[in-house]
């Protein structure tokens, strides 16, 4: 066996590369190329966020510092006047109260009902698919069409009172009294949207390992403690998600209020987002409307942040 040793091959360095080395390292390093590629990938999304979120928020901040006569286009800088007006607005406390009642009602009823339906439909029985479809189907109906139909049903001489009358109950004039009007908009909203939460809960429930239930049964755990100690902790990430999404959704509810009650009677269903619309687009007070919109944005951000921070205390993560 013979081994031949060859002299090391000479590396030929091109003149251009020599010049580059002489002038220092190249700007376009692999790392920089990767960073640029990354930015190019996220650019469409960031551009969307910039144009449709950041720019409007920036403009809303600017508008909130101005008084804008929409008919002439004249803007006058008024500084914090619109913010000071928040404290003097006699309608605002009623609007905030209605917002809390509506959003709280929607979140509590929606989450409870969604979870209950999901638990009931997380079994094998004949027709379960049909029931799942039935509960989910309102989600795909247009909000306005859905609300218009409910508007007819909830009239004094409408379908709901007709049904109640058939069983001897004299139904209330649903949309004409503050309490029943609020109940009506909450229920109408929940029935339409509960299907989404139901599907999410159903998926989460089906992800809970069966052996945990078996072990609990062998240990003699009651159904209630199985639900409280196994099911709820294991679906808590989904619960957190649905709570956040439902809170944000409830704070954004507009069409239901606009179509069903127009914010009445006596402001009882005027939620903040509807009030923003009224001020900015009906009363043409863009400055004050923008101030209210920023207040709503702050509320949504604060609530989301709060829920996110609290997740460590009540959300179970396997890892």
């Amino acid at each position: 066996m013979t081994t031949t040793t060859q002299p090391p091959e000479q590396v030929v360095v091109p003149a251009a590369a020599k010049a580059r080395r002489a002038s220092g390292p190249s700007f376009w390093t692999t790392r920089r190329r990767d960073v640029l590629t990354g930015y190019l990938f996220i650019l469409p999304q960031l551009a969307g966020v910039a144009v449709f979120v950041l720019l409007p928020v920036g403009m809303a901040i600017w508008y909130s510092l101005n008084d804008w006569n929409v008919f002439t286009g004249k803007q006058t800088f008024v500084g914090g006047e619109n913010y000071a007006a928040l404290a003097d607005d006699p309608q605002l406390p009623k609007v905030l109260l209605a917002t809390v009642i509506f959003s709280g009602g929607v979140v509590v009823v929606n989450i409870t009902l969604g979870l209950l339906i999901a638990v009931l439909l997380n079994r094998r029985f004949r027709g379960v698919t049909l029931f799942r479809t039935l509960f989910f189907s309102p989600v795909v109906v247009s909000v306005v069409a859905w609300t218009l139909v409910w508007g007819f049903l909830l009239q004094d001489n409408g379908g709901i009172n007709g049904l109640l009358g058939a069983v001897g109950i004299d139904g209330p004039n649903w949309l004409q009294h503050g309490d029943t009007a609020m109940v009506s908009v909450v229920i109408t909203q929940v029935i339409r949207s509960v299907g989404v939460n139901m599907v999410l809960f159903l998926a989460a429930l089906q992800g809970v390992p069966e052996e945990l239930y078996e072990a609990a049964r062998i240990d003699g755990a009651s159904s209630r403690s199985v639900f409280a100690r196994i099911t709820l902790p294991l679906i808590s990430p989904t619960l957190l998600l649905t709570v956040i999404v439902t809170v944000v959704g409830a704070l954004q509810s507009f069409a239901q209020i606009a179509v069903l009650t127009g914010g009445g009677p006596e402001l009882s269903t005027t939620v903040l987002v509807y009030y923003v619309f009224q001020q900015a687009f009906e009363f043409n007070d863009i400055g004050y409307g923008s101030t209210l919109a920023l207040m709503l944005l702050s509320f949504v951000m604060l609530l989301t942040l709060l829920q996110w921070q609290l997740r460590r205390k009540w959300v179970f993560y396997e890892d």
Binding site: L55, N69, T72, D156, N173, G262, G264, E266, E282, N284
Partner: protein, 420 residues
């Protein structure tokens, strides 16, 4: 820290891009290019749009400086909001129909004065305009919008339903009390509604001016500065309405719908232009409004058309408006909208183009009413007044309402807006 910097850089970059994209407006129009005019309207009626388009086409044939005239049909319910948003967004039309937004537009100098141009145009016949219908669209003697539609409110009667309930009314001496009595009897005997104030629906309270004017009441003083809702006359008028809704049931209560034109009510107060909704399914009568305690009266709803001051083609738009409203075209428009011209205001002329109402009905319900008619309450900030007034008036529509207190609360709610 480095990560935060990167995110901020990305956000700043994309925001700058977004701003650049947003600020890049449309390219400026080349000089000498023929103008394209746009007029916003709230009708979607094909025949009305066809007429407007044909007038526009005829105008363009003689005016090469205008290459296109578009009639943009906006939904009536959102008309004011859409028009205002277009103006605020720098996309104002050149011409626009307007209803209760006219006061705001005039007060903000957002409309172009028309009087000089109309008077200076040969054959336009400015003096032919009825004084009572131009007041609403004028300021300091200058007309800012041509009142193309002046439709008085009238009493429609379903005579079949009255006969079924054994009721009869005499239009010559008809009073509100008689209407309420007959309406209550119809409701008691047939289950159908008595009288309905169309479009009120316990929300649009300004339509109640068709009732309270009969009691000599008004929403605010003539100068628009003082609320007069708490007056004794208004209190009597609202007591009448409240009794009709909750005691005698002559008027359907809140949350109950009844459409006169579908045969669900014995009487309705509606504009004469609503006669097109009559389908012939029942016999009807059309009369002037019933007499109130303050005597005979008339109320009308108006619509005007004006040129926006922000129009880039103000001169062409004004010129087209003059053409659109000249005596010849005014006569064509009169088939749909009661005109403001005295020469066209006869029952016979109006009936020539009306398939539902005869000359006598139109003479009594339109022509005879217009000279002394008052318009529905109109003021600057109409939407804010409407909403705040409605919120206060909601308390009225309960069986145990404290009528004087509710009316005082209406004044408390709207007076700051009136004083602006």
């Amino acid at each position: 820290m480095i990560r935060a910097k990167k995110v901020l850089t990305a956000v700043a970059l994309t925001t700058a891009l977004g701003l650049a994209a947003a600020c890049a407006g449309p390219s400026p129009e080349a000089p000498g290019t023929a103008a394209e005019l746009r007029m916003t309207v709230w009708t979607s009626n094909e025949a009305q749009l066809k007429l407007l388009t044909s007038i526009g086409d005829a105008y363009r044939a003689d005016h090469p400086e205008v290459s296109k005239i578009t009639f943009e049909s906006l939904p009536f319910a959102d008309y004011n909001t859409t028009l205002t948003t277009q103006i605020a967004g720098g996309n104002a039309p050149d011409l626009a129909w307007m209803g209760d937004l006219s006061k705001d537009l005039i007060a903000s100098d957002a409309l172009v004065g028309l009087t000089d141009k109309l008077k200076a145009t040969d054959g336009w016949q400015y003096d032919d305009l009825l004084g009572s219908v131009t007041a609403e669209f004028s300021r300091d003697g200058t007309l800012y919008a041509y009142p193309f539609s002046n439709s008085p409110f009238a009493l429609y009667v379903n005579t079949d339903l009255l006969a079924k309930a054994g009721q009869k009314v005499n239009p010559a001496t008809l009073t509100w009390d008689q209407v309420a009595a007959a309406g209550a009897a119809v409701h008691a005997k047939t289950g159908k509604a008595g009288f309905v104030i169309r479009d009120f629906d316990y929300k649009s309270w300004n339509t109640l001016a068709t009732v309270w004017t009969g009691w000599g009441a008004a929403a605010w003083s003539a100068d628009g500065k003082t609320c007069t809702f708490a007056s004794p006359e208004m209190e009597q008028a609202f007591t009448f309405l409240h009794d009709a809704a909750f005691k005698t049931k002559a008027m359907p209560g809140p949350g109950t719908t009844a459409d006169f034109f579908a045969g669900d009510a014995a009487f309705t107060i509606a504009q004469v232009s609503r006669a097109s909704l009559l389908t012939g399914s029942f016999k009807f009568g059309l009369y002037a409004l019933p007499t109130g305690p303050a005597g005979k009266y008339a109320v009308l709803g108006q619509a005007g058309v004006g040129v926006l001051a922000s129009s880039k083609h103000q001169d062409q738009a004004k010129d087209f408006l003059v053409y659109l409203t000249n005596p010849v075209n005014a006569e064509k428009l009169a088939q749909f909208f009661p005109p403001p011209r005295k020469s066209l205001l006869t029952g016979a002329k109006l009936a020539a183009n009306n398939k539902v109402l005869n000359a006598t009905q139109l003479q009594t319900a339109v022509v005879d009413q217009l000279p002394n008619a008052v318009t529905l309450p109109n003021h600057t900030s109409p939407a804010e007044i409407a909403q705040k007034g409605k919120t206060a008036l909601d308390a009225m529509w309960r069986a145990d309402a404290d009528i004087p207190a509710v009316l005082r609360s209406v004044c408390t709610a709207i007076e700051p807006i009136l004083a602006k």
